[in-house]
C-alpha cells in the first residue's frame, strides 16, 4: 500500500444497455481530499458511471474499491452505507416536506428511539446550524416546493454533505446557481476537502473547474481517454479529448449587418416579476440579457412570447403592435421561444424527433387537409444535418436523446418555423461543448440571415462571446446596457448584484 492510496477506485467498469456499450473498461480513481473533475460530452457515459457508483445500476464487469476494500453496491442504500453520496443533476427532494425533513430523511433524530417519534425541534435546530455553517440563507422549516431552484440545489448539497463519509459526487451542481452562490459552494467544497473527502465533480464549465479541480478524467464514448492532474493539459486539449476533434473556436465570429428594428418593447410590466422594461432589437443583432436568478429574465421573455399576460406596456413586432399576446399568435407573427425548461415547456418527450421539430410550422407541410409525411421527413432531415443532431433518425423518440441533442431539436423547431425574432432562454444549459459551439454557430447564421436574437443566459463568458449588447436586469428592472465587446464579467456582475437596501420591483 502506498500513502497515495485512493479513497475511491473504479476498475474496468463495463456497462451496456440493450446491446449498446455505454461504458467500456473505464477506470477512475480519486484520492481523499481531492476534487476530481469528470468531464465529457453529453452521452459520454458520465451519468451512467456515477449511477453505478451510487448503486442505481450494476456494472456488467469491473470492481469498485473504497479505501482499498472491494465493495458491491446492489442498491442505492448500499452506497450510502459505504459513505458514497451523490447530488443528482435532476433534483431529488420531496417537495411537500420541509428543508429539515429532507436533509434528515431516513435518519431523523428521535426523541424516544423505540417509538420512532421524530424530534422535530432538534431536527430543525441541527438543519439550521448546518445551513448556516455552509453560508446558505434558507429556513429549515420552509417546505421545499416554496424554494427557488437555486435554494433547492443548496438543500440537496447540504443533505449530501451529511451522507458523504468517503466520496461525494456532484453532477453539475452549479447549473441553477448564481455567481454568488457558486462562491459559497466552492467554499464548502474546500471545507469538505479538508475533511479528507474525495469529491467527483461533473461539469461542463471548464472555467469553473479551473478554480476548483485538482485532477481530471475525460470520458468519451464510454472510454476514459485521459486522466491526470488539472492544469497538465490546456483547455483546448481537454476539449479535443472530449470531442475527439479540434474545436478551433468556441465562439465563432459573426458577419451580420444591423438592419431595421424587429422587436421593440416599451415600459413592459408584469407586476411582481418585472417593471418598465424598454429595449429594442434589430435584424442581425444578438442581444444578451444578464442577471441573477430571480431577476425576472425568464418571466420577461415568456411574457413577450405571450405565455403570460403583461399588466402594461407595449410590444411591437416588425413595427406593428402585438395586442393580445398568445403563443399561437406570436408564433404566427414570427416569434420563437427556446424555453429554459425543455422538459416542461419544450419537448413532447414520447413523440418522435420529427414531430417535435416541425410542431411550430406544420402549415408548411400541408397539402390541403393532408399532412405530407414525405415533405416532413425531408424537412427534418435537412435540419438534422444542418445542426448535426444525433441520432439522425427522424423517428427516434426524443426522450431517448441526450440533452444537447434535444436542445438542438428545439432550436431546429424555430429555424423550421422561420422565425424573425428568436428568444433564447438559457440556450446551452446542460449542453456539452461540441453541441454548444454548434448552437452558437446556428445563432450566428440566424443573425446573418437577418433575424433578431435575444439571449438570456447565466453563463457570462457565453454572453460576452456572443452578444452585441448586454442588458442587465436586477430585481425586475433593466439597470444597464453594456457593449458586449467592451465589457467584462466583473462589470456585468457589478450591475447584476443586488443592493440589499433597494426596494423590490413590484
Amino acid at each position: 500500500m502506498t500513502n497515495e492510496q485512493s479513497a475511491l477506485e473504479m476498475r474496468g467498469i463495463n456497462k451496456s444497455f440493450a446491446g449498446n456499450t455505454v461504458l467500456a473498461a473505464v477506470n477512475l480513481s480519486a484520492r481523499a481530499g481531492e476534487v476530481h473533475a469528470l468531464v465529457g460530452e453529453n452521452g459520454a457515459g458520465k451519468s451512467t458511471l456515477m449511477k453505478i457508483l451510487a448503486g442505481v445500476y450494476q456494472p456488467d464487469a469491473g470492481e469498485i474499491l473504497i479505501d482499498g476494500q472491494p465493495v458491491r453496491f446492489t442498491r442505492p442504500s448500499d452506497a450510502l452505507g459505504s459513505g458514497v453520496a451523490m447530488i443528482y443533476q435532476e433534483l431529488s427532494l420531496a417537495p411537500d416536506l420541509t428543508v429539515a425533513e429532507n436533509i434528515f430523511l431516513g435518519r431523523e433524530p428521535l426523541s424516544f428511539a423505540l417509538l420512532g417519534i421524530v424530534n422535530r425541534r432538534e431536527m430543525n435546530l441541527r438543519a439550521g446550524e448546518m445551513l448556516k455553517a455552509h453560508g446558505f440563507k434558507i429556513d429549515p422549516r420552509a417546505s421545499i416546493k416554496r424554494l427557488s431552484a437555486a435554494d433547492r440545489q443548496l438543500v440537496e448539497i447540504t443533505r449530501a454533505t451529511v451522507e458523504a463519509k468517503r466520496v461525494l459526487v456532484m453532477d453539475e451542481p452549479t447549473s441553477s446557481l448564481t455567481a454568488h452562490e457558486v462562491e459559497d459552494l466552492f467554499r464548502l467544497i474546500r471545507e469538505l476537502k479538508s475533511r479528507r473527502l474525495a469529491i467527483i465533480y461533473i461539469s461542463h464549465r471548464l472555467e469553473e473547474l479551473d478554480v476548483i479541480a485538482d485532477r481530471l478524467t475525460v470520458l468519451r464514448d464510454g472510454h476514459a481517454v485521459y486522466s491526470g492532474a488539472w492544469g497538465e493539459i490546456s483547455r483546448p486539449e481537454i476539449i479535443k479529448h472530449m470531442a475527439g476533434r479540434e474545436l478551433t473556436e468556441i465562439f465563432p465570429p459573426r458577419l451580420a449587418e444591423k438592419g431595421e428594428t424587429r422587436l421593440r418593447i416599451t415600459n413592459l410590466t408584469r407586476l411582481g416579476k418585472f417593471r418598465d422594461v424598454t429595449f429594442a432589437v434589430a435584424a442581425g443583432e444578438v442581444i444578451g440579457i444578464a442577471g441573477l436568478a430571480g431577476a425576472g429574465r425568464t418571466e420577461l421573455v415568456e411574457t413577450i412570447f405571450g405565455a403570460y399576460h403583461a399588466d402594461s406596456g407595449e410590444i411591437f413586432l416588425n413595427g406593428s403592435p402585438l395586442h393580445l399576446a398568445q403563443p399561437d399568435l406570436t408564433v404566427a407573427r414570427g416569434l420563437g421561444l427556446l424555453t429554459e425548461d425543455r422538459k416542461r415547456t419544450g419537448l413532447c418527450l414520447n413523440q418522435p424527433l420529427a414531430t417535435n421539430l416541425t410542431l411550430a410550422n406544420l402549415k408548411a407541410l400541408m397539402r390541403g387537409w393532408h399532412l405530407d409525411r414525405k415533405r416532413e421527413t425531408a424537412a427534418a432531415g435537412e435540419h438534422i444535418a444542418k445542426l448535426h443532431i444525433r441520432p439522425s433518425d427522424p423517428n427516434k423518440t426524443v426522450a431517448l436523446m441526450s440533452g444537447g441533442n434535444q436542445q438542438k431539436v428545439l432550436l431546429a423547431r424555430w429555424l423550421f418555423a422561420k422565425s424573425d425574432v428568436f428568444l433564447l432562454d438559457e440556450p446551452t444549459r446542460g449542453v456539452d461543448v461540441a453541441a454548444r459551439s454548434e448552437i452558437y454557430r446556428a445563432i450566428n447564421r440566424l443573425a446573418e440571415a437577418g433575424a433578431a436574437v435575444v439571449m438570456v443566459s447565466s453563463d457570462l463568458p457565453e454572453l460576452l462571446g456572443m452578444a452585441d449588447r448586454i442588458l442587465v436586469m436586477r430585481r425586475g428592472r433593466m439597470v444597464a446596457e453594456l457593449d458586449g465587446r467592451n465589457t467584462t464579467q466583473e462589470e456585468v456582475l457589478r450591475h447584476a448584484a443586488v443592493d440589499e437596501s433597494e426596494p423590490q420591483a413590484a
Partner: protein
C-alpha cells in the same frame, strides 16, 4: 423495435384468441356468428374511435354511455314524431355533438380535470334522458329505422360494420395525416410544450370532445335502431368498455399514445372474448373477471413502456 412489439402484441393476442376459440368451438367461424360479433361491438367501436382521439390528447370522457342514451332518446322523439330516418340519425348526432361540446368547453376553458367534468356530465346527461322520458322507453319508431342496426348491404355486409369502417377510416385519417391529429399527439404528450409551440390547445381540445360526442350520438342512433325504441337506460357501463378498448389497443391513459388500428383490435379482443365465452358456455360472471384481468395486463404493459422511456437517456 419496441414500437413494433407494442403494436404487435395486441394483434397477436387477438389472432391467438380467435384460433383457440375456433379450435374449441368451430361454430365461432360461421358467418352468422362473426356478423353478430360485428353487430355487438359496433356501438362500442364507434365510440372508441372518438375516445382514441380524446385519450391520445391526454383526456378522458366518462359520459359516453350517458351521451349515447340521451342522443338516442332525442332522436327517437324526432322519429316517433314522424321525422324521416336521416333526420332522426342527424338529430342523434347533433344531440351528441352538443353534449360533447359542453364537455370540451368545460374542460378546456375552465381548466377542470376531464375525469371530474365528465364524471359529473355522466350523471347529468343520464338524468336528463330519464327526466324527459319519465324513465320509459320512447316507442313508435318506424320499423324501417331498424335497418341501421340489423340490415345488410348487398345482403352480406352488416350496416353497423360498414358504419364502423367509415368512422375508423375517417378518424385514422385525422389522427395520422392532418394537423389536428398531429396536435392531438403533441397536446397529449405535453400540453405546455404544445402551447409554447403555438398550438391552439383550447380549440383543439374542444374539437376532440365534440367529435367524440358526435360519434356517441351516432352510436346512440345504432343502439336505438337495434332496440327499435329510445331507451334512457341504455349504455350504462359502456364508458368502461370503450376506455378499455383504447387501453388494450395500446392507448395510454397519460396521453400521446394510441392508434385507431390498436383500438379496433382492443374492441375486438373484448368482443371475441365475450362471444367465445358465450359459445363455450362460460358464465358472464367469469367473463367479467377475464376482461378485467386483460385490462390490468394492458395497463401494466403501458406503465412498463413509460418507465423504460423515463430511465433512458439519462
Amino acid at each position: 423495435m419496441s414500437d413494433w412489439i407494442k403494436r404487435f402484441i395486441p394483434f397477436a393476442s387477438l389472432i391467438g384468441l380467435c384460433v383457440i376459440i375456433a379450435v374449441l368451438e368451430p361454430r365461432f367461424l360461421s358467418s352468422g356468428n362473426l356478423a353478430s360479433v360485428a353487430r355487438q361491438t359496433a356501438v362500442i367501436m364507434v365510440m372508441a374511435m372518438g375516445m382514441t382521439m380524446v385519450m391520445v390528447s391526454g383526456g378522458i370522457d366518462l359520459s359516453v354511455g350517458s351521451m349515447m342514451a340521451l342522443a338516442g332518446v332525442t332522436g327517437a322523439f324526432a322519429l316517433a314524431g314522424g321525422a324521416p330516418t336521416v333526420v332522426g340519425i342527424a338529430t342523434c348526432m347533433a344531440a351528441g355533438a352538443f353534449c360533447g361540446l359542453l364537455n370540451g368547453a368545460a374542460i378546456a376553458t375552465l381548466k377542470i380535470p376531464p375525469f371530474i367534468v365528465t364524471l359529473g356530465a355522466m350523471g347529468i346527461y343520464r338524468g336528463i334522458a330519464l327526466l324527459v322520458t319519465d324513465g320509459k322507453a320512447v316507442v313508435g319508431l318506424p320499423t324501417k329505422f331498424g335497418y341501421l342496426a340489423e340490415g345488410n348491404l348487398f345482403g352480406i355486409l352488416p350496416v353497423p360494420l360498414l358504419i364502423v369502417m367509415i368512422v375508423a377510416l375517417a378518424v385514422h385519417f385525422v389522427l395520422s395525416s392532418t394537423r389536428l391529429g398531429r396536435y392531438c399527439y403533441a397536446i397529449g404528450s405535453n400540453v405546455e410544450a404544445a402551447r409554447y409551440a403555438g398550438v391552439r390547445v383550447t380549440r383543439c381540445q374542444i374539437i376532440f370532445y365534440l367529435i367524440l360526442g358526435t360519434l356517441a350520438g351516432l352510436a346512440g342512433a345504432i343502439e336505438a335502431a337495434r332496440l327499435v325504441t329510445g331507451q334512457p337506460t341504455t349504455g350504462e357501463g359502456y364508458e368502461l368498455r370503450v376506455i378499455a378498448a383504447v387501453v388494450i389497443g395500446g392507448g395510454s391513459l397519460s396521453g400521446g399514445q394510441g392508434t385507431v388500428v390498436g383500438t379496433i383490435i382492443g374492441a375486438l379482443i373484448m368482443g371475441v372474448l365475450a362471444n367465445g365465452a358465450n359459445l363455450l358456455g362460460i358464465s358472464s360472471f367469469t367473463q367479467q373477471i377475464v376482461i378485467g384481468a386483460v385490462i390490468v395486463l394492458a395497463v401494466t404493459f403501458d406503465a412498463y413502456q413509460r418507465r423504460r422511456l423515463d430511465t433512458a437517456g439519462s
